[in-house]
């Protein structure tokens, strides 16, 4: 009898091994491709649109030449704004090498762009002694009706005042913002609702580090999970006279985690904009705004997870009228499965976020920038993720070498000289971008291949805008050491998408603040259609070193549009009924 029992146990043992193989293949399949009915079509048109921008990576002090490709793999960023108020969104790209110009692409309204960065005075910003660009955010800090530009750097940030005549003036010196920082993100936010845009600039590396004159090689994180030796984040209050003052410590937002991304929105519905941080080598942080007087670090279930936050994107994923949060992280077969976080916002109900990422949402490789946007106007926010860290020699992989020190004591790898040389090796290189179609309760499915997104560049920033004023969102991707890509939305709403299917509709809103900041950054808009209510916020900076067009785009599917509720940054609430669909509406805040 014992022999047949043993046979059964052996059979169960073998069956368990088979189950491991099968389940593993299913896991791999879930991140590899679609299978869903494809309803997103994108076409890469950067060159055809006149955009030929290639990011240049920084060159750093030779003292850290062993890991320079790793340290200096940042800075390819893109931000969207209509800087000349002609009703067409323009694009600003950053480069990160001394002498390499940033670019301001003027939308010529005919499907093409022209680089006017030099004549506008915002191109030549990467200079020895001043630092190199790591990103930029647009906001009308002086409420003169023209979007101004902040360029954050590894170096001195620069504030450019938009003169309204196509030119910008560098007003950094008198602004009080000339503080050396090694920053990789910033966000405009009117934290005290005084009608003036304030500025939160994050620190990544410590601010005493000058990457071109290193005094020490002890510049790296002291923990892969709980590092607090990064640069200090700074909050600058706009005094309204062109000057900003540092209120970081009095407001309690001086995190020294390695912040790579920040965004602002009212997460807990108390009427005040909060700050959400994605930190490398540490847990995410949510600073809840207490009526503009101070910020409180909320637990909200975020401290349970410590990963490598790269980007923070906001989207009302299931049309619940909430800001859900997507934070990118790292996954590499065999070595590391941190997984991206998709956190559903239950702050009001439960005081926390619930992390629900799985399949293609969780595993997108070494993920960087990401943005939500309804790419097919079906009423559900889709998700675009840019991927890949260092694409170099594809036959050499740095993962093993990095794994040697990843588990070590912090004081070993805090010193860059203890890192194995990366040489020409790749590190999660040649990864493909993801386009995740939101199918509601059925979850997300990756349709990148079918949608026409096949590039394998090292994606960093993703921004979305209706670049050609057609009622569809286009996607712009800035790539590290690579050319910028413009994915033109090739769907053609409101025409039928396929036979027998009704066309999808849309609504776009451009908000103009009066009591609030003129850019209306921070305005919260809830659009009701059918049984859904989708919430969006006017973007002061989000994703990874990017900023979407501050015009809001809502896909409506084939549903009837209901009321539109706007909560202005001033606190005023406005309800608008009867808006026509398939149109852009300019709404000015009631005085």
């Amino acid at each position: 009898m014992n022999s047949w029992r043993r046979f059964i146990v052996i059979a169960a043992f073998a069956a368990a091994i088979v189950a491991v193989v099968v389940l593993n293949e299913r896991a791999a399949g879930s991140v590899a491709g679609g299978g869903a009915r494809e309803t997103i079509r994108l076409r890469e048109v950067a060159h055809a649109s006149g955009i030929d921008f290639t990011h240049q990576a920084p060159t750093l002090d030779p003292k850290i030449s062993n890991i320079a490709p790793h340290v200096g793999a940042l800075g390819a960023c893109v931000s969207v704004a209509d800087f000349n108020n002609d009703g067409w969104p323009d694009l600003y790209f950053t480069s990160s090498r001394f002498g390499a110009p940033n670019a301001l692409y003027l939308n010529q309204k005919d499907g093409t762009f022209r680089d006017v960065g030099a004549e506008a005075g915002v191109a030549d910003v990467n200079r020895p002694g001043e630092g190199v660009s790591m990103g930029a955010v647009w906001g009308d800090y002086d409420n003169d009706g023209f979007e101004d530009l902040l360029v954050y750097k590894w170096g001195y940030p620069q504030l450019f005042h938009n003169l309204g005549n196509g030119r910008f003036e560098d007003v950094t010196a008198q602004s009080g913002l000339r503080r050396w920082m090694n920053s990789n993100s910033a966000v405009w936010v009117d934290f005290d609702r005084d009608g003036l845009l304030d500025l939160y600039i994050t620190g990544y590396f410590r601010s005493d580090i000058d990457f071109w004159h290193l005094k020490t090689t002890r510049i790296m994180q002291h923990s892969w999970e709980f590092a607090t030796n990064g640069g200090k984040n700074l909050l600058f209050k706009n005094l309204g006279n062109g000057h900003f003052t540092d209120v970081t410590d009095s407001l309690g937002v001086g995190s020294t985690r390695w912040t790579l991304a920040v965004t602002a929105a009212d997460f807990n519905d108390d009427g005040w904009p909060d700050l959400y941080l994605a930190n490398d080598y540490g847990p995410e942080e949510l600073y809840l705004n207490r009526e503009g007087k101070r910020f409180e670090l909320a637990s909200a279930g975020l401290s349970d997870d410590s990963k490598s936050g790269m980007a923070v994107a906001l989207g009302d994923v299931y049309n619940r009228g909430q800001h859900d949060v997507f934070v990118t992280n790292i996954s590499e077969k065999g070595f590391l499965f941190q997984g991206n976080n998709l956190r559903l916002n239950f702050l009001k109900e439960l005081g926390r976020f619930d992390e629900v990422a799985k399949g293609p949402v969780a595993d997108a490789g070494w993920a960087w920038g990401a943005q939500f946007g309804d790419l097919n106007n079906d009423g559900l926010l889709d998700l675009v993720i840019a991927n890949g860290f260092i694409s170099a020699d594809s036959t050499h992989d740095y993962w093993y070498a990095m794994s040697k020190i990843a588990g070590a004591q912090g004081n070993i790898f805090e010193d860059a000289k203890n890192w194995p040389a990366i040489g020409t090796a790749s590190l999660s290189g040649y990864e493909r971008s993801r386009v995740l179609l939101n199918r509601g309760q059925a979850g997300f499915v990756d349709v990148a291949q079918e949608a026409g997104v096949t590039d394998r560049l090292d994606g960093r920033a993703v921004a979305m805008a209706d670049l050609f004023n057609r009622g569809v969102l286009d996607v712009v991707v800035a790539n590290e050491r690579g050319r910028a890509l413009v994915y033109r939305n090739a769907s053609s709403p409101p025409e039928p998408l396929s036979r027998g299917e009704r066309g999808n509709h849309w609504l776009e809103l451009k908000l103009v603040g009066t009591r609030s900041n003129r850019s209306a950054i921070g305005a919260e808009v809830t659009v009701e259609f059918g049984n859904a209510r989708q919430r969006q916020v006017v973007d002061g900076g989000s994703g990874f070193c990017s900023q979407n067009d501050r015009r809001l785009h809502f896909g409506l599917g084939d549903q009837r549009l209901g009321k539109v509720t706007i909560r202005w940054p001033s606190g005023a609430e406005q309800v608008v009924n009867g808006l026509a669909i398939d149109q852009l509406h300019v709404i000015t805040e009631p005085r």
């Binding site: 169960a12 368990a16 588990g407």
Partner: protein
């Protein structure tokens, strides 16, 4: 990761303690400190799954195949070890469930002369890493890379290894690792600290205190155990050199050199030792 009553109970301050319970205490300490300080589990369902299935499998199979319910301390250690070491794709539980079952079942299936050949946790993790790399990695949590925490665990670990009479195994491995690290430093040319760094991390704590020291899957003589563990360190170094020289064919191995080295060397040593002792008898 299992321990046995092979070593006689020893007196500690007048109290007789079976060595296996010292190991149970140590892994519980690692679990509690790691979870309290750094949240190393990544969710209690993982621990509940591995512990529950490990213990249930042990109870069921020992009763069904051997007619008596085995002591579950070994399954307890295995369950905790798997919960700490398996780091799968987000929010999937099956690697914990199947890993726990396979670990314990391997003790009843992969046997020779009535003894199992693999350390249960080592077998399960090696299998998962090799055949389920799309879903499973090992220990991405590094316990904060904090020196203080690691010193505490090393201190407790060394004392308990001494009490459990396996300190010679631990120290032999550590000495060999350091020696081979220096050798790799000269061969590869990278920073010496980069080669030494791995052993300062938490995965190695679990490895040197719970896996290579497992009395049930180590050979019968003290000298033999030291030789075997030295060979494990040698094979680990060969895998690491393969990683340094980017031998693509061996990439699946260098995601976790020590665990895979033990998975290869341990059973062969056990097989030869069991055959030798049987012949001698």
């Amino acid at each position: 990761m299992t321990t046995s009553a092979q070593a006689p109970a020893r007196s500690l301050a007048g109290i007789v303690i079976d060595p296996k319970y010292l190991i149970v205490f140590l892994i519980t300490l690692v679990l509690v400190v790691g979870e309290a300080q750094y949240g190393i589990l990544g969710g209690y369902p993982r621990l509940a799954t591995t512990l529950g299935i490990s213990v249930a499998t042990e109870v069921l199979l020992s009763w069904w195949l051997r007619g008596r319910v085995a002591n579950v301390s070994s399954a307890y250690i295995t369950g905790i070890s798997l919960a700490l070491l398996i780091k799968p794709q987000a929010n999937i539980l099956w690697p914990f469930a199947l890993g726990a079952f396979l670990a314990i079942a391997s003790k009843y299936v992969l046997t020779y002369r009535g003894r199992h050949l693999w350390n249960p946790s080592n077998f399960a993790i090696a299998l998962l890493v090799l055949v389920a790399a799309d879903s499973v990695a090992i220990l991405s949590h590094q316990w904060g890379n904090d020196l203080g925490t690691n010193l505490v665990i090393w201190a407790f670990g060394l004392v308990i290894a001494w009490r459990a009479r396996v300190l010679h195994v631990t120290l032999t491995y550590v000495a060999c690792f350091i020696g081979f690290a220096v050798l790799r430093h000269f061969i590869v040319g990278g920073p010496l600290f980069a080669e030494l760094a791995p052993i300062t991390g938490p995965m190695y704590q679990l490895f040197v205190f719970f896996m290579v020291t497992d009395p049930r899957t180590t050979v019968s003589t003290r000298r033999g155990r030291m030789i075997v563990v030295a060979i494990v360190a040698l094979v680990e170094t060969l895998i690491r050199l393969a990683g340094d020289y980017q031998l693509a064919l061996l990439r699946p191995l260098y995601v976790s050199p020590p665990i895979l080295a033990l998975a290869f060397v341990g059973p062969v040593a056990m097989f030869l030792d069991l055959r030798r002792t049987a012949s001698a008898a």
